[in-house]
Amino acid sequence: MKRFTSQLRMEVQLTLRNGEQLLLTLGIPVLLLVFFSLVDVLPTGTDEPIDFLAPGVLALAVMSTAMVSLGIGTGFERSYHVLKRLGTTPLGRPRLIAAKIASVAVVELVQFGIIVPVAYALGWSPADPNWPLAVCGVLLGTMAFAGIGLTLAGRLRGEINLAAQNGLYLVLLLLGGMVIPFSKLPSGIREVAHALPSGALADVLRETLSGAGTQPGTSWAVLAVWAVAMPAIAAATFRWD
């Protein structure tokens, strides 16, 4: 247990000490939430933009941490031979992976601890939020995004992985129903967006927190498929060095 705790402390410490990661995991989500709540330029289709934005930004926060932050960090650890060296210690791969997952959960808790109060302060008042179910959605989303992040990190060189993760982040942000409603996307792209993990998670959170999902049944199914498939692909293809 001491080994796991020590690795978890190191992972969280490094994430929270990294300015770029903080910008990505906290700065951008909070900025998007505040800016688009106060400046009504997005075609959210709701009276209060915050009602649409809050669940979407929570989904964005999950994606930022579980995919981009974890993926970029792990990619560089691979390039710097950190994983190789840890592999020669008694830590073991299962504990290393468990510590990484736990560190993602810790950072997500910090994110939610900041984003949710900010959203409430901006006027978000969901009628009957089902937080336990939302947490299930967040868990599935975390698995799906972590799988994607680690699949890229486990195969690509550090710099290429960095570019790929950031590029994918932007695509999933714009097409994932997080800040732009599915209904405003062109037909064809809209169907693709619903099949993306970002779209599915945003829709699931919107349904569980505000009862405003567009196709919640399909979104749960899509999210579950991504949550099972991507970690499996990552495990099968990951190279430690």
Binding site: M10, Y80, G87, T88, T89
Partner: protein, 318 residues
Amino acid sequence: MAGNDAAVEVSGLVVRYGDLEAVKGVSFTAKAGLVTAVLGPNGAGKTSTIEVCEGYRKASTGTVRVLGMDPAAHQRQLGERIGVMLQQGGVYPSARVLDTVRHYCTLYGKGADPEALVEQVGLTSRSKATWRRLSGGEQQRLSLALAMAAKPEVAFLDEPTSGVDVNGRDTIRGIIRALADTGCAVVLATHELDEAERIADHVVIFDSGLVIADGTLDELRKGHDEIRFRSSPDLDLISLAREIGMVASQVGPDEYVIDAPPHPRLMAQLTAWLAEHGHPLTDLRAGSQRLEDVFRRLTAVDKDTSSGPAGDGKDGAE
């Protein structure tokens, strides 16, 4: 482990990467309490061999035993008993020195004192600096501290003094010697022959994936005494040979070698001849060959025979 027990036993090891055979059937042992230097140029197969010993890479064929265990099958158990220093860091770039050492001490769980380790490698004043802020030499010393956090019975150190300044090298050599004196089998991979000459008890020389020599420095040098001197660049070597009864070879613009033991009479004849012909004597060294010369001789033999390994010790291909 009792002194001089074989802590690492490599037998007929082959490592292939696709069609490339990087290690071609090497065998050697490393004993407890001794520093075993695995030497060779870049690409000779040293790192691949060490990685198999660490359990990081699987052998294509052959057997490797570390502390009596197969590293590939018992990586977890061995992880608690071996210390590893990689050729390229392997440390979180944004982690602080003391935090990193403390983390590794916890991972190994052997009760090593992080502050004491940091002090031992001379990084106390840099304990709050991150890895990326350290100089190359400081990074190597931190990396060595992480290997020592294991209180290892076997330590695999890959190029520990690479990129380190003279003072840093002295520190690292002292630490490695002290580690071996605790009974640890130190396996030191390096391409710096001078480094191995200063610290190794036992030398294994790799070339092109083969072990071409294996023994103590004295064993490798045995029967290969020489007289090496510097003088004018245009010595009349025929006249000199007539005088001393030996052939001198020019090995540099002003450097010459006579393959013979440094007998006082021969030395007197040489210096007398130089004085008589008005040549200076700017440098004179006599006795055992330097490891660098041993290496050159062995690799030249290997390439000349081109029929497999050659040398003073065991053959590599089995």
